[in-house]
Symmetry: D2
Subunit: 258 residues, 4 copies
Amino acid sequence: MDVVNEGAYLLLLHGRRSWLIRVEKGKRMHTHLGIIDVDDAIGREYGSYIESSLGKRIYLLKPITYDYVMKGERRTQIVYPKDMGYIASRLGICSGANVLEIGMGSGALTTFIASIVRPHGHVYSYEVREEFIQIARRNLSRLGLEDHVTIINRDASAGMLEVSNMDAAVIDVGDPWSVLDNVYHAMKGSAPLCAICPTMNQLERLSVAFRDRFVDVEFTELMIRHMEAREGMTRPMFRMIGHTAYLAFGRKVVHGCC
Amino acid sequence: MDVVNEGAYLLLLHGRRSWLIRVEKGKRMHTHLGIIDVDDAIGREYGSYIESSLGKRIYLLKPITYDYVMKGERRTQIVYPKDMGYIASRLGICSGANVLEIGMGSGALTTFIASIVRPHGHVYSYEVREEFIQIARRNLSRLGLEDHVTIINRDASAGMLEVSNMDAAVIDVGDPWSVLDNVYHAMKGSAPLCAICPTMNQLERLSVAFRDRFVDVEFTELMIRHMEAREGMTRPMFRMIGHTAYLAFGRKVVHGCC
Amino acid sequence: MDVVNEGAYLLLLHGRRSWLIRVEKGKRMHTHLGIIDVDDAIGREYGSYIESSLGKRIYLLKPITYDYVMKGERRTQIVYPKDMGYIASRLGICSGANVLEIGMGSGALTTFIASIVRPHGHVYSYEVREEFIQIARRNLSRLGLEDHVTIINRDASAGMLEVSNMDAAVIDVGDPWSVLDNVYHAMKGSAPLCAICPTMNQLERLSVAFRDRFVDVEFTELMIRHMEAREGMTRPMFRMIGHTAYLAFGRKVVHGCC
Amino acid sequence: MDVVNEGAYLLLLHGRRSWLIRVEKGKRMHTHLGIIDVDDAIGREYGSYIESSLGKRIYLLKPITYDYVMKGERRTQIVYPKDMGYIASRLGICSGANVLEIGMGSGALTTFIASIVRPHGHVYSYEVREEFIQIARRNLSRLGLEDHVTIINRDASAGMLEVSNMDAAVIDVGDPWSVLDNVYHAMKGSAPLCAICPTMNQLERLSVAFRDRFVDVEFTELMIRHMEAREGMTRPMFRMIGHTAYLAFGRKVVHGCC
């Protein structure tokens, strides 16, 4: 039986509210549900619950990658789970793959990809801003993923990249076309690429930059809508996120480029 | 340099049309683009192209999991890449995980999950119909994934399952509530579950079946829309798939159940 | 030249904020933009602006039906403009039509339809709750539409309706099937009907109730998404309304019913 | 009782298939449902049915504006009913309004608007191409709407328009900015405008052209999805139209322009 131990990460859940914490003796959390005494959780089975001082049930969940991603420290807009998942699916990201990432941000997508490619694959991630790297590093270390990610602190548009023969590449910077040449050269022949683009203008400019270098081009948007399912009253939810980003996909071709 | 070898799988691409084939000496394909002589591809770099007898460029792409899934043999509706990706993301499927699948069908989702969890994780997949198992087995073997999947040919609603302590579970059968009890017992405490539901009625019935056994419940639908990005003429595409399936998520809780 | 007169209704606009007011001498409005002195507006052209005490531009707009509907007094959820428009379009509501409405609520849809069918058409509207009728009457009178609407204060499911030969009908109550028989008899042969249904369960139950009495059945949902269009940064808006209601359409057939 | 007369228009319906015809003695239609003998319909009540030679039920429906629009003769892409409805709703188009239209095309939107504004309102419609005008005229005459529409056969971007004081305006041409100046001058102060834009580039360019001349600017897209509602099996339909056009709205302001 899997129980909550001191030092482990733990997701506390009540209804729609949740907290990702580290279990420490004597830790007490003051919340709108009353005080949560973390000591109560130690030694209890995952999936069971403790009660707050106001008698509210607080479920003890073992965090999954999704929780680390959603509850990670961040100073940038992270890639949404719907987009992350489709990127992994469309790029064929799998255990053992070597993946290039340009624009690490807070490391959300890095975390997700590293959790898939390890132990024999690796993520090579470029990030210009030192402060993002600090955050990303802390986020990765919570899942023990540091050894599966190499962080390179420089502008990927300036000069050849340090890596080559990448199985797949993801670009998440505002001007993806500026790094496209370097990314192209770092990829294996026919390897797939994804650029994350908040605006239609970025798509349009990429469609030109892709020409003669990428085929199987797909520009896509995913919309997610949650449902309220209750007996006799099932309907989509009133609120919905309207847009996160477009995703631009292509695969490297090699004619006319060497 | 990665080149096309005899015996390997190869994705041939021209525009929106593609074929996943096995490279065999002397193979000739008759298509609307003219004859494609597969011998021409042998020894060429991935990402380069050959020409059909009508002079059309046929790109040589190294197949990724996505291609095996989309071009796999099938006799059932497969889970769509958008749904697959979100399932992996929302369930935190990662390298090393042990995943239970009820309703293997043609093995599309099985393939995707196995490609992530290997080498140390494993998929346990239940399927009632022997003919689907044959198809799924052939699909898995094309990627060399057979050793990472255990197929159990029986009705998962009848009697305790052969597995336990699963890190995550996916249900893709018409009556997910009928197997919920058995799946529940095979899962770790707090482990996440997804049921794939084409209709709203299935969601509604699951919302009742989830009660007291699953928390963090989310019922979701993903819509995907492709874009036409061209200079000065960027717009969403006229045609779109309106619906594939709803996804029902939850995490196992253990109070009151033992 | 069309100018703002005392006694008229006026829409004041600043950015996304607007107020529908009646122009009265000496009226002063305290807002987050400072004080708006309504006297300043009198005699000014529609489309021009006045300034608030904080120097903010307040545009003077002549209210259109849309404004009366959106800014009307309400104690119920109103039909959204996207749904209203499609109802008018799909039912062929036009000048001169006689339209039956079951469930007047605050009179938003009533207002919209009456603004179209007058002067020779008419709306016959059933509403059980006296307090809604008071609100709806006030809303209608602001556009001078009272004479084009007959309000009947009773339960449309109990006993034959007072009207017949309706060109079209709209049902906006929680249990549309309960009034369907009576509505059916009040409609002309082949006349179109719309029922507004927040949940899929209502659709499902209607699909049964429609059988043998309505053809050309269409169940529809409209989603609306706003765009942020700016040079070089065009994208859909982050927030979006996920769901208002499904719309159920059909046309009356007369075989086997007389 | 309303019956089918010779000379009248009639919508024949079987399942999802329908035909809008003129009732003429002796007319026989050869369809995949067998021969439909139109004589059988004469004198029968609307909403009743006749049978084809293969014994299929053919319902007799009195055409509504929607049918004339959808079944009209066309050589251009027409404005979709979902967009039409929202335009009417958002522009406050009502009985009595004078509406300016630039780009009549086949007259679908013209028909819809004219059916609302008559008898005291009017549509003024500009169209460059003579052949479209012929089609639009035929479409309008089927509903007897010719007297409520004035067609002007010239390029609205060249020289002042013949009309002024319009209550609302709709632009449906590829380069809406080119006519914006002229349309602006033909509108009443604070009157609302809609431009129909298939691409996001058009929206972007309009957002610049609107500046200082239009407020309450809204760029919008409507998506429509049909539902399959059946007992125990309710779900959205598999196929869906992904995109028709964006709609750009604004209201005329008059400062700095006279």
